[in-house]
């Protein structure tokens, strides 16, 4: 068995391979397709969302390649417009929003609170199939040519666009149901299924993040669903509900859309923050610098995030008063994120910090998210936004948050929980190499876009002024690099699924509750009813050892003080 000395030594697998796990209880297709086990549903989601990521990623690479030259490079303008629209839709609704909550949330949330499953296992399965139905609709829409409205579907263009708007919005409408159902399921699970010893303030922070995100999902998604439904009706039956020529109001549409879509930004980033809040204490082997600061700021983001949508509309014709109010609330919501950032960094202080792939991604996350968040504060500054709005500056800003934040956290989660999910270790050296390239490729892709935006390059432009070409070329090369690193990651992880060395229950020597059970976990998560006596971040005493059938715990080798 090869281990790389990165400070963490995986515990060798000491169990008879015949132990029953959620993976080997049954191998039939039916046992997967009709499973109500949250872990298997999590895996199904992981596979489907990864497929969506690949699809959206291919679009992204085609778009970037098109921008190698100011005029046509490989596709025409109409194709370009439909492709950036579908890139946005696939990435936002098929990947970013469900990625962490449905895959890792499903897999881990019940385990982290010591439960056997989520509160409504069958509803959980239903939500997966609703998600699949939404994906299928979006793919049907793609096959019909796709929409060309931008992921924002601004009226009245969306009512008259010659493209396949109706199936696209219908697909998203369906996806919304899946999101809402998962949200409700998580809220109820968190409230009612916590095991003995798991009080609210002893829940792992990832659970807090899932809880916060579920609240936003359940409150905000219905608004989106109804607005998109109206867009579909306007397009199909020409009702003109958002069309000024019929007395409708296109600016009202923007209010409705952003009422959902700004909180949706937090739907995408809160789970990422949850992942980071687990990774940092584990690899620093220390309690978070302030558990409550992270937990409360999660709630703060969840609620204040609902009062900031107007910052997308500073030049859309809102009153000076509204603009000022949205401006100051946007500043406030940034504070909550800043609190988290400082808490993560201070968590390392006087800890014992190990370098492993999840930590590489934490550093990538930290740099990109802070950079992206700070440019967010900059665009929330009203007079500056007038120049930056709808330029590449904004494109770069939200990709720093979405890709730099959510995607790196997703990759961190993938590596961090890989041993728990598969029972095997991934190759650490490959992980570190790929993680570094992801970071470099990402930075190279999106940093030039800030400068493009400063220069006045409007977004969603097919043709552009040749003066912008050098920056576009750098950006495109960066995107290829990023794509290559993602493929590399996919490959070594797939190989490791089958050939990685066995991981043992708690390879990272974490104290969080999901590590108490063997990896991969048995069908009902824990071999015996778990009672958690330690805090999930208590590194003052050795890990009590994994839970065995019958309830006794097997301590590991003596720790180093």
């Amino acid at each position: 068995m090869t281990t790389i000395d990165v400070g963490v030594v995986p515990v060798p697998h000491r169990e008879a391979p015949s132990r029953e796990t959620y993976l080997n209880v049954a191998y039939t297709v039916k046992s997967w397709a009709l499973t109500t086990d949250h872990k298997r549903i999590g895996i199904l989601y992981l596979v489907t969302t990864t497929f969506a990521l690949l699809l959206g990623g291919v679009f992204a690479l085609v778009l970037r390649t098109e921008h190698l030259t100011p005029d046509q490079t490989i596709i025409d303008a109409y194709t370009y417009n439909r492709m950036f629209t579908m890139h946005g839709i696939v990435m936002v609704w098929l990947f970013m929003i469900p990625s962490i909550p449905t895959a890792f949330g499903n897999f881990l949330l019940p385990m982290m609170i010591g439960a056997k499953d989520v509160a409504f296992p069958r509803l959980n399965l239903a939500s997966y199939y609703i998600y699949v139905a939404g994906v299928v609709w979006v793919i049907v829409a793609l096959w019909m040519g796709g929409a060309d409205t931008g992921w924002t579907f601004y009226a009245p263009y969306s009512a008259h666009s010659p493209s396949a708007v109706v199936p696209t919005v219908f697909g998203i409408f369906i996806l919304g149901w899946s999101t809402i159902i998962t949200g409700v399921n998580f809220i109820v699970t968190t409230h009612t299924m916590r095991a003995k010893g798991v009080t609210w303030f002893r829940m792992p922070l990832f659970v807090w993040a899932m809880y916060g995100v579920s609240i936003i999902q359940t409150l905000a998604t219905p608004v989106l669903a109804i607005s998109l439904l109206i867009v579909g009706i306007d397009h199909w039956f020409d009702w003109g509900l958002f069309d000024p020529h019929r007395g409708g109001d296109p600016v009202l549409y923007q209010h409705l859309f952003w009422f959902y879509s700004h909180p949706a930004v937090y739907i995408m980033i809160l789970p990422a923050m949850g992942v980071i809040s687990e990774v940092v204490p584990t690899f620093s082997h220390k309690n978070p610098a302030s558990y409550k600061a992270i937990a409360y700021s999660t709630l703060g983001i969840a609620f204040v995030g609902f009062g900031t949508w107007g910052h997308h509309m500073f030049v859309a014709g809102i009153s000076l008063f509204d603009a000022a109010a949205f401006g100051v609330l946007s500043m406030l919501v940034a504070i909550f994120s800043a609190i988290k950032v400082f808490t993560w960094v201070l968590t390392m202080r006087r800890g014992s910090v190990a370098v492993a792939t999840p930590m590489i991604y934490f550093f990538a996350f930290l740099f990109l998210f802070v950079f992206g968040g700070m440019t967010g504060v900059a665009v929330a500054t009203q007079s500056l936004d007038v120049h930056w709005h709808d330029t590449y500056f904004v494109v770069a800003h939200f990709h720093f948050i979405m890709v730099g934040g959510t995607l790196t956290a997703w990759l961190a989660a993938l590596h961090y929980w890989f041993p728990k999910i598969t029972g095997r270790m991934y190759p650490e050296r490959w992980g570190i190499v790929a993680g570094t390239i992801v970071f470099a490729g990402f930075f190279m892709t999106f940093f030039p876009q800030f400068l493009l935006g400063n220069g006045g390059m409007a977004r969603r432009y097919y043709y552009y002024d040749p003066v912008y070409q050098p920056l576009h070329v750098v950006s495109t090369v960066g995107a290829w690099l990023l794509g290559a690193a993602m493929l590399l990651t996919l490959c070594y992880l797939l190989v490791a699924c089958f050939t990685g060395p066995p991981a043992g229950a708690n390879p990272w020597d974490s104290r969080s509750y999901e590590w108490y059970t063997p990896s991969p976990p048995p069908k009902h998560n824990f071999p015996a009813e778990p009672v958690f006596e330690l805090d999930p971040y208590d590194y003052t005493v050795p890990f009590p050892g994994e839970l065995k059938a019958g309830g006794e715990q097997a301590p590991q080798e003596a720790p180093h003080a």
Binding site: V8, S284, R349, T375, S383
Partner: protein, 351 residues
């Protein structure tokens, strides 16, 4: 320093009066936030090295950040962000509020071109001609979908929305030609919806007003002249031609409709209690969508003039109403109180 930073950040020239102020705030915000980001990152790297793991499976003491430290961090950041907000909001208010003496120009956007109508009746496509050092108000609307009028060199942008009349203003400070972009996605040729602002020196602008085409470095010709003469007088003629005086007076007396004397820039109360300022956008909206903002105490009997009045006529009317800004109220004769005819009998305006 300004030019150095502008170059580093790849910002376009600062060709409007507020561009430089916006850029100064930009430098401040970007450097403060980037220094902050750098500090956080370096701190993290320092901790990584200082507290790197030395044994497998170590134990550590519980350390929590002291509450005063947390409060200091939050308080410090919050005050910094509030400074951004205060300066940004006051600049924004300045940029969004046109000065009263600005030249009005009507902007009509449609897929995928810009049409500019000047108060003297001229019109031009895709090339906007303005004098240097004079404020210009754009009264903007769209024929089809939402567009956005964006001049990077002016640091100015505003959405152009069908069914609405938005005003935006700028005052150019350097003669030259600057790109206009459409910043809101509007269909297949969105990226081809490019125009130019031609900022002329005062003498050149005078010649342009006299109808002589002006040659600039880029070679844009002037717009074709149609009507000349005093704009406000043109407006008076337009008003009487369209029968506005059947309902509106010029001497302060309320009639079927409110008087136009001292209307411009005054505060008007609507029948739902809102108080609006009678600026160009409001006056234009009152002609195009009279039912949207009903003045308190009046019935909604005014017909819409959408499609009847051309943009230059609207500009002339607005200019005319503006010229009555300091009109003395002189109730010479009391007009009889006329009950408005009900809306079923509403007629087309008299020719």
């Amino acid at each position: 320093m300004n030019n150095l930073l502008r170059g580093l950040l790849n910002l376009p020239p600062q060709a409007s009066t507020y561009a430089q102020d916006v850029d100064l705030l930009h430098y401040f915000v970007i450097s403060a936030t980037m220094l902050g980001a750098l500090f956080v990152f370096l701190l993290a790297i320092y901790y990584l090295v200082r507290y790197r793991r030395r044994h497998p499976r170590p134990l550590t003491a519980q350390v929590s950040t002291a509450v005063p430290v947390e409060i200091a961090i939050i308080g410090g950041l919050l005050s910094l962000f509030l400074v951004f907000w205060v300066v940004g909001a006051s600049q924004y208010n300045h940029m969004m509020t046109a000065p009263p003496d600005a030249i009005p120009i009507y902007v009509t956007a449609k897929q995928w071109m810009w049409k500019f109508s000047y108060p003297d009746g001229r019109a031009s496509m895709d090339v906007l001609t303005v004098p240097v050092n004079r404020p210009v108000t754009l009264v903007m609307t769209s024929r089809d979908v939402i567009h956005s009028f964006y001049v990077p060199a002016f640091r100015m942008k505003h959405d152009v929305v069908p069914g609405r009349y938005y005003t935006a203003w700028f005052q150019a400070n350097t003669p030259g030609t600057y790109a206009i972009e459409c910043a809101e996605y509007c269909g297949v040729d969105h990226s081809r919806m490019i125009g130019h602002v031609q900022v002329l020196s005062q003498p050149d602008y005078g010649r342009w007003l006299d109808g002589q085409g002006v040659r600039t470095a880029e070679g844009f010709a002037g717009a074709s002249a149609t009507e000349g003469g005093d704009l406000a007088e043109t407006g008076r003629a337009v008003a009487s031609r369209n029968g506005c005086f059947n309902c509106h007076t010029l001497d302060g007396q309320p009639h079927i409709g409110p008087t136009w004397a001292r209307l411009y820039d005054s505060q008007v109360t609507m029948n739902d209690g809102r108080v609006l300022v009678a600026d160009e956008a409001y006056l234009t909206r009152s002609m195009m969508d009279p039912q949207v903002d009903l003045v308190a105490g009046y019935k909604g009997v005014m017909p819409t003039y959408r499609g009847i009045l051309q943009e230059p006529e609207v500009a002339a009317l607005v200019e005319f109403i503006k010229s009555l800004r300091s009109q003395p109220f002189q109730p010479v004769i009391r007009l009889p109180h006329v009950e408005p005819i009900n809306s079923a009998q509403r007629q087309e305006p008299q020719p």
